[in-house]
């Protein structure tokens, strides 16, 4: 007869959530583990944020020094957008007192995945105070009727 103690559903769930949390932390560290700039491509990754409301997904990007007429926002698949924008001046590492890296940047660039289905073709864009705002209406693929 097995002497192994039977675990309760709460223990199993607790362990599951602990593992999930650990995986999320690892993923976060992996994402943070790379620099926010790409020396080879001469690009910087902007800070960005996503908010999902009942009707739309709103993505914002912090783009200091940006020339408004150079901003490009492109859908690259049904739930990812790519943004790029040129800065008014070249930024060198030594502008920040950093001398152990060499390189200069004049472009912001990044891809962002939208976490809910959206209509890419109904995208609205505005740029104010150095913040690029992309609004995407949410797609309702199905509605569950209330009985």
């Amino acid at each position: 007869m097995s002497s192994r103690k039977k675990r309760s559903i709460f223990d199993i769930m607790g362990e599951y959530f602990e593992n999930l949390e650990e995986m999320a932390e690892q993923l976060e560290e992996t994402l943070m583990g790379r620099p926010s700039w790409n020396q080879k491509a001469c690009t910087m990754e902007p800070l960005h944020d996503i908010m999902v409301t009942p009707t739309e997904a709103i993505v914002t990007f912090d783009l200091p020094y940006t020339q408004e007429n150079t901003i490009q926002v492109k859908p690259i698949d049904k739930n990812t957008i790519e943004i790029s924008a040129k800065m008014r001046r070249r930024i060198r590492f030594d502008d920040f007192g950093i001398t152990h890296y060499k390189g200069e940047f004049q472009t912001f660039h990044c891809h962002t995945r939208i976490p809910v289905p959206v209509y890419m073709d109904k995208m609205e864009i505005r740029f104010k105070k150095g913040i690029l705002e992309v609004r995407l209406p949410r797609k309702r693929e199905y509605i569950i009727p209330i009985e």
Binding site: M32, M44, L47, D49, D62, P64, I91, K128, K129, G130
Partner: protein
């Protein structure tokens, strides 16, 4: 050269504050720690450069990440205290993790109390939606006692009446209320996740109004884009810690139970 060592009283053989220069007694102690919009850090950095504050003490602790900050090739603690004859300014160049925030902040408060500081002021932010559309940014205050609350109200600062506060400034206010040390927190409306020099400038103006610690904020506004660019990485790290600290609780509506 390190002249004196102060050991944090609360936890904490784990947190030491080492003094490099003579520390004035009876000063105002300010805090600029990474939080929403990096308002406190940006404001602190501007105060250091405008008032030519010198490093007078630093924190040494195994609770901090295993890191140093190199400035002109020399190692520095990520948490340092700058000052002159009348101001002590604690500033952190790294986001403080939720699980170490109590011993770290309490060690600083105990140290300040030991220096007979006359008031503690946390410089920070409060996020608003559609911040880029805001015409005029407001600054709110919270205080450690009814007397301090009246003092800031008399200066025309709006009070943060109800709500939650999460982060270093919450510990400062709570601990100072407990030990009877006058304290206020100034919260400038700001971006949640982006560095906000304009909000920092607003907070510095209210700091001048309340304490008389005056600085010209025009350079801060002129260099806004440069600061936003420079502060991206620390903002990203701070976002992570804010999420672990459940910073979004500040949006919650409290149930009044007293």
């Amino acid at each position: 050269m390190v002249s004196r060592v102060f050991w944090g009283m609360n936890l904490s053989d784990e947190v030491k504050i080492l003094e490099k220069k003579e520390v004035p007694l009876g000063a105002i102690m300010l805090y600029g720690f990474p939080d929403v919009g990096l308002v406190g850090v940006i404001a602190a950095s501007h105060l250091i450069s405008e008032l030519d504050l010198r490093e007078i003490a630093y924190m040494d602790s195994r609770l901090l990440p295993p890191m140093i900050v190199l400035h002109e090739g020399l190692p520095h603690s990520p948490i340092r205290i700058f000052g002159n004859h009348d101001i002590l300014l604690a500033v952190s160049e790294t986001a403080i993790s939720a699980d170490t925030i109590y011993p770290i902040m309490n060690a600083l408060i105990d140290w300040g109390k030991g220096k007979n500081v006359r008031m503690m002021v946390s410089l920070s932010g409060i996020p608003i939606q559609d911040r880029q559309d805001a015409q005029e940014l407001k600054v709110f205050a919270a205080a450690s006692s009814p007397e301090m609350l009246k003092m800031v109200q008399d200066k025309g600062v709006e009070i943060l009446n109800e709500g939650y506060m999460v982060g270093p400034q919450a510990i400062v206010l709570q601990s100072c209320a407990r030990i009877g040390l006058p304290a206020i927190t100034l919260l400038g409306q700001c971006f949640l996740n982006y560095p906000d020099p304009e909000a920092a400038a607003k907070v510095l103006k209210e700091l001048a109004n309340i304490t008389g610690v005056k600085v010209d904020v025009s350079k801060l506004l002129e260099k806004g884009d440069e600061i936003r660019l420079r502060a991206r990485d620390i903002m990203k790290r701070t976002q992570q810690e804010m999420s672990k600290m459940k910073k979004t609780r500040e949006y919650d509506i409290p149930v009044y139970v007293s």
